[in-house]
């Protein structure tokens, strides 16, 4: 199947707008682990903003500093580094924040950065957190936020521009020392301030220009064609930048494709992801949820990463039970269970990964991950009694064997037979091996919330990023007609210490569905599939 428009709904502030067809579905199956070593350009832009504060619209100054590469190659991902967002709110704004007892303020920033190449655009969200600062008695308030930002890759030749857009500032006001710290309602308050770039901002908020393409130095290390191949398998499997010749001819006008924001770019189109719904064989209960999950798994031996396309997971949400007594926390534990769901089987859809085996032979494998038992999801919610800060730690334990369906080495198909898979489940070091023996993959995610501010991080219901490290066991049953491919696969893939990062989307609760409306962010489609198709992150 050919790549299709990628305007999948992703109803959040970081929603990506794309003007280009065939832009985002082409995600990297193999992500170069090293970027081109070129010079860097240091950027510092001071921009006028207008912020909506309780007393009205007030001017603010936002200074953004970051380092960008001087040039980049088409398809080459790079990450702006040293990103600092400094927000200076005027004295009038400080007066708005000066609630009784408020002495200090903690801030987090979310800056929309427009990334454009030729006429194609995408949006990245640059998140930053600031150290707590004292609220000044007089004069302006300056907040300095730092944080990591998404990688970006230009899709063709042409200048890649970065421009600052809307800015949201989450502010948590802390009580003065010695003031009441007894309960949530004693919190002096918190608010989210939305700011827009002032109309008179120089160059419409331009932060940096990175020339891409001709004349740019080449990447080192991992293989990549000069321009992405831009095709997609029937399952939506990615195939970016691979010189394997399997792609269909590139459509015209690809030079206009959107730049690729690797960490919060666009999601694949719904037509390109497998359905995710309960059915007669899998009837829902009143605690049934469904969600998509997608992400990358590094394969260290191959110096690359395999991309798992959005895969359907059916979840039975557990009921929170009181956790162990703790003098400082109120604790609730929840155990939920989940299954992958693809064509009535407990497995992922087939996905392709292309690597350079032994640094020279391109190997393309089509694989699935199959469950050998239920996936168990343990969530522990801890409410700190001193300030009602809440944290939810979630461990997902999944017994999954990796099955190889097809294999091509140097363009030549090799018959792996019908029983080619890892000997055991992919394994991780379990933090609680006494209670969770046996081989399984462990992924971890944390969600947090300061009273009065939005929750952040991974939460089973609303999704987020889960990460872990896995060992790939030896392969068995690979090959036919006397040709034993076990050793080839084991030698080139199996091994420890492979980083895994999977992003789960918002769940759809079948018995309490939330459909998109002006009042509500959509959680379910009309036919009770997950509304959100998440985007893989690295």
């Amino acid at each position: 199947m050919k790549a299709t428009p990628a305007a999948a709904p992703r109803p959040s502030r970081s929603r990506v707008r794309t003007t280009s067809i065939a832009a985002f579905v082409v995600l990297a199956a193999l992500v170069p682990t090293t970027a081109a070593a070129t010079g860097t350009q240091e950027v510092e832009a001071e921009l006028p903003y207008v912020c909506a504060l309780p007393s009205g619209q007030l001017p603010a100054t936002v200074r953004v500093s970051a380092e960008f590469p001087e040039r980049a190659r088409a398809g080459e991902a790079f990450t702006p580094s040293g990103v600092t967002t400094t927000v200076r709110l005027p004295a009038e704004a400080v007066a708005d924040l000066a609630a009784p007892d408020a002495a200090e303020v903690r801030a987090a920033t979310r800056l929309d950065v427009g990334v454009a190449q030729n006429t194609a655009t995408a949006t990245a969200t640059w998140r930053g957190t600031a150290e707590p600062v004292a609220l000044p008695e007089t004069g302006p308030l300056t907040l300095v936020a730092t944080g990591d930002v998404p990688s970006v890759a230009g899709r063709g030749d042409g200048d890649l521009t970065f421009s600052a857009g809307a800015l949201a500032i989450d502010l948590a006001l802390g009580a003065a020392e010695g003031a009441a710290t007894d309960a949530a309602t004693a919190d002096p308050g918190s608010l989210t301030v939305d700011c827009t770039l002032a109309e008179d901002a120089p160059e419409r908020g331009l932060l940096a220009t990175v020339p891409v393409g001709t004349g740019a130095p080449g990447a080192s290390g991992a293989p990549s064609s000069p321009e992405p191949a831009g095709t997609s398998g029937a399952s939506g499997a990615p195939d970016d930048g691979q010189p394997d010749g399997t792609g269909e001819p590139r459509p015209e006008g690809q030079s206009e494709r959107s730049p690729k924001v690797l960490e919060n770019g666009g999601a694949p189109d719904r037509d390109d992801v497998p359905p995710c719904r309960y059915d007669e064989q899998h009837p829902p209960t009143d605690v049934s949820l469904n969600a998509y999950i997608t992400g990358y798994a590094n394969v260290n031996k191959m110096k690359g990463a395999a991309y798992l396309p959005p895969s359907c997971v059916l979840i039975e949400q557990g009921l929170p039970e009181p956790g162990p007594p703790d003098p400082d926390y109120l604790i609730f534990d929840t155990v939920s269970y989940a299954d992958f769901h693809y064509e009535e089987r407990k497995q992922t859809p087939p996905f392709e990964a292309t690597f350079l085996s032994f640094d020279f032979a391109p190997v393309k494998a089509t694989m699935v991950m199959e469950q050998t038992g239920p996936m168990r999801i343990d969530s522990r919610m801890k409410i700190r009694l001193s300030d009602f800060t809440t944290i939810t730690d979630t461990y997902v334990r999944a017994p999954l064997v990796l099955r190889v369906l097809d294999l091509e080495v140097n363009g030549t198909p090799l018959d792996v037979g019908s029983g080619c898979r890892t000997r055991t489940s992919l394994t991780s070091k379990d933090p609680d091996p006494a209670h969770f023996p046996g081989d399984h993959l462990v992924l971890y995610g944390r969600g947090e919330q300061t009273v009065g501010l939005p929750a952040t991080g991974y939460l089973l219901l609303s999704g987020g990023a889960l990460s872990g490290e896995m060992s790939v066991p030896a392969f068995t049953g690979c090959g036919s007609d006397g040709e034993d491919l076990d050793r080839l696969l084991t030698a080139s893939v199996s091994g420890p210490g492979n980083f895994v990062k999977q992003v789960q989307g918002q769940t759809c609760a079948i018995a309490a569905p939330v459909f998109p409306s002006p009042e509500n962010e959509g959680q379910c489609t009309e036919d009770l599939q997950p509304y959100e198709i998440p985007v893989a992150e690295r």
Binding site: Q317, T390, A512
Partner: protein, 210 residues
């Protein structure tokens, strides 16, 4: 046993501090005539700062809006306004908690009830009554009903809601486990800027005892 003691303590703390904030000096004689300007009028309200709803765990809404009608009335308490639209969250900014995103569907109308008026500050003390909202977080569903104490300040047009523990109750909790039960005492805290829908002016509420 130990756990339940701790949870009671937590609720007590919340109640104590909420009471402290809600206490406003009473005027000498209770107001029985409530003059709303303009009257009658349609109003709209938008949150100033984030709204925090707590049902054992706190939930944050960065966007919340309300609309309705207000009019002069007599009696004490006096029903000075009907809230006919009450939204928590929006399509781009859902309410969040560590349980996950929270969807709140208000069952309107709610009432704004005036009880006391301080002529020197222009602050009316009272509560939002007839509160009813259906809340969901994943498979967890429950209904919150009751009232929420608050104040209205003529100079700012701020309706500050700061409910005390016990004013709101939970009914019909389903699939919420131990986190939300019928023993849970929800609270509703947040400030709304109220304006006359047609003019954007700040409406006034004045209580008197002729």
């Amino acid at each position: 046993m130990k756990k339940s003691i701790r949870r009671s303590a937590l609720v007590a703390c919340a109640a104590a501090s909420a009471l402290g904030l809600a206490a406003v000096p009473s005027s000498a004689a209770p107001s029985t005539v409530w003059t709303v300007t303009p009257s009658p009028s349609s109003f709209k309200a938008v949150n100033v700062g984030n709204i925090v709803l707590t049902a054992t765990i706190p939930m944050t809404c960065t966007t919340s809006t309300a609309a309705g009608t207000m009019a002069s009335t007599t009696g004490n308490p006096g029903d000075v306004a009907d809230i006919t639209t009450m939204n928590f969250g929006s399509s781009t900014s859902p309410c969040t908690s560590v349980l996950g995103n929270v969807t709140t569907t208000s069952v309107v109308p709610w009432d704004v009830i005036a009880v006391d008026y301080n002529a020197s500050t222009g602050v009316t003390t009272g509560y939002v009554g007839n509160v009813k909202a259906n809340v969901t977080a994943g498979a967890c569903k429950f209904t919150v009903t009751g009232k929420a104490s608050g104040t209205y300040t003529n100079s700012t047009g701020y309706l500050a809601i700061n409910s005390t523990a016990g004013e709101l109750v939970v009914t019909n909790p389903v699939n919420c486990g131990a986190v939300v039960t019928t023993a849970t005492k929800p609270t509703f805290k947040g400030t709304y800027a109220v304006t006359v829908a047609s003019t954007g002016a700040i409406p006034k509420i004045v209580g008197s005892n002729p």
